[in-house]
């Protein structure tokens, strides 16, 4: 059983979705996350153990990404493999047998239409066991406020790619903090720095998806 769990974890790390997937080339025709998850469930392995295995795989690939050992395509393949597992685990989330670590609301700020960085953070955070509410791009402050109001236990992530939309990010942070002082806000994106994050009153600055996960875990630990 341990071996099966390790294999699932490895499939996530390598982005091996299923047997027919040609990627990665060195794992061609091997079983992937899809088949191995079904096998694990058939053998009676608990869904939360499978989810933990996925989290380990996502953590490893996330750390490799932080160290520039792998790049966006590898991370996306890992996310795809993770999705294959999640499709099988979905019923267990609905029954409450498996629980998420918390809620993460994410969006690209108003006036900015770039979504790759935001999507990566979204997928890696979800892959690490969080419920992600992705609001998409060009998200107005009011939309964030509305969603926070309906999810008072969430943490918020704001993304921006343009230097010119950082001003909108700053406004959104200020509005969130004014209306919901207890809600933690993480900011990130190409032009954003630690210094800028502090200046706009955000609780944290995430340089990459894995760092966003670490910040969330830190908040969770209190």
């Amino acid at each position: 059983m341990d071996d099966l769990i390790k294999k699932i974890s490895y499939c996530i790390e390598r982005g091996k979705v299923n047997k027919t997937a040609p990627y990665p080339p060195d794992m061609k025709e091997q079983e992937g996350a899809d088949e191995l998850t079904l096998k694990a469930l058939d053998l009676g392995i608990k869904p939360f153990e499978i989810l933990d295995a996925c989290n380990v795989g996502m953590k490893i690939i996330g750390e490799k990404f932080s160290r520039n050992e792998v790049f966006v395509p590898e991370l996306l393949m890992a996310a795809k493999a993770m999705q294959a597992v999640m499709n099988h685990l979905k019923p267990y989330f609905q029954t409450g047998e498996v629980k998420k670590k918390g809620k993460f609301v994410i969006g690209t700020v108003a006036g900015d239409l770039h979504d790759i960085g935001k999507n990566l953070v979204s997928m890696v955070v979800e892959g690490n066991g969080w419920e992600v509410i992705d609001l998409g791009v060009d998200v107005k402050t009011n939309k964030f406020l509305e969603v926070i109001n309906n999810n008072r236990d969430c943490t918020v992530g704001l993304s921006a790619l343009l230097t010119t939309t950082m001003a909108n990010m700053s406004t959104t942070v200020a509005e969130i903090k004014s209306k919901f002082p207890d809600i933690k806000v993480i900011v990130g994106g190409a032009p954003v720095t630690q210094e800028a994050a502090q200046k706009m009153g955000a609780d944290a600055y995430g340089d990459n998806p894995q760092q966003a996960v670490e910040i969330l875990e830190h908040f969770l630990a209190g």
Binding site: G15, K80, L113, M123, T163, T164, T193
Partner: protein
């Protein structure tokens, strides 16, 4: 090699053939971050690159402005329109005898394909196709930039680097001012209220030309945008 459509005395539009826009695998490797030319995504990148000619309809053009003024260090006036270009862009476009307000696009087939791949869950392929589409749009902008450079050389004029709203602190909303110079449906590109161009893989901006104008690298050292298209381009140029 291309057809020229003259829209009037001061504007020109080029309809390019897809084969005139070439993107090399090494360029995409470099944008992604790969240092080795052989990696697990080589085959996918090559496959997408091979389909590029069927999925682009490159067009590019410009409008020439000769009424230019610099009211201060952070703005440029073209005819009766004042652009708040901010200090970096203003300094790089100074001393112009002519300004070229340009537009370049690869059409919308690539972006539709990128969206299809994404909705099918092919995230990595979608990401790579999107990068290749962006690179192709840049190559189309390079084409019109080179065309302008050659034309200006005949008149002993130099040309500047190109600058677009949204970069170097020049606010993206100023796209609306740029588009006020273009004839309707110029190059098949339209502008949405949010300043987003449709097709998305389009580039607009300004190029200065003049006897005292010279080409300079982008001033990336003064800007904090780490993943900016032009920072990446600058780095690639320096590595060549």
């Amino acid at each position: 090699m291309f057809t020229i459509k003259n829209n009037g005395s001061n504007s020109l539009e080029l309809h390019l053939t897809p084969e005139q826009i070439t993107v090399q695998k090494e360029e995409i490797d470099s944008i992604i971050g790969y240092k080795n030319t052989e990696h697990h995504f080589s085959e996918i990148i090559n496959q997408i690159l091979s389909t590029l000619p069927q999925k682009i309809t490159p067009r590019a053009g410009y409008v020439i402005i000769n009424s230019i003024d610099y009211p201060d260090k952070k703005s440029i006036r073209l005819q009766d329109v004042i652009f708040n270009t901010e200090p970096i862009v203003t300094s790089q476009l100074k001393n112009a005898d002519l300004m070229f307000v340009f537009l370049a696009t690869i059409g919308n087939k690539m972006e539709k394909w990128v969206e299809e791949l994404r909705s099918e869950g092919e995230l990595a392929n979608s990401y790579i196709a999107d990068l290749i589409a962006s690179a192709a749009a840049e190559k189309t902008a390079d084409f019109i930039h080179d065309y302008i450079t050659k034309e200006m050389k005949k008149n002993n004029m130099g040309v500047s680097n190109r600058y677009s709203p949204g970069y170097c602190n020049w606010h993206v909303s100023e796209q609306h001012k740029l588009f006020s110079f273009f004839p309707k449906n110029f190059c098949g590109v339209t502008l949405k209220e949010s300043a987003l161009m449709m097709p998305i893989k389009s580039i607009s901006g300004i190029i200065a030309a003049g006897r005292k104008v010279k080409w300079n690298d982008y001033l990336c050292d003064t800007c904090k945008a780490k993943n900016c298209t032009y920072r990446i381009k600058n780095k690639q140029n320096k590595n060549q």
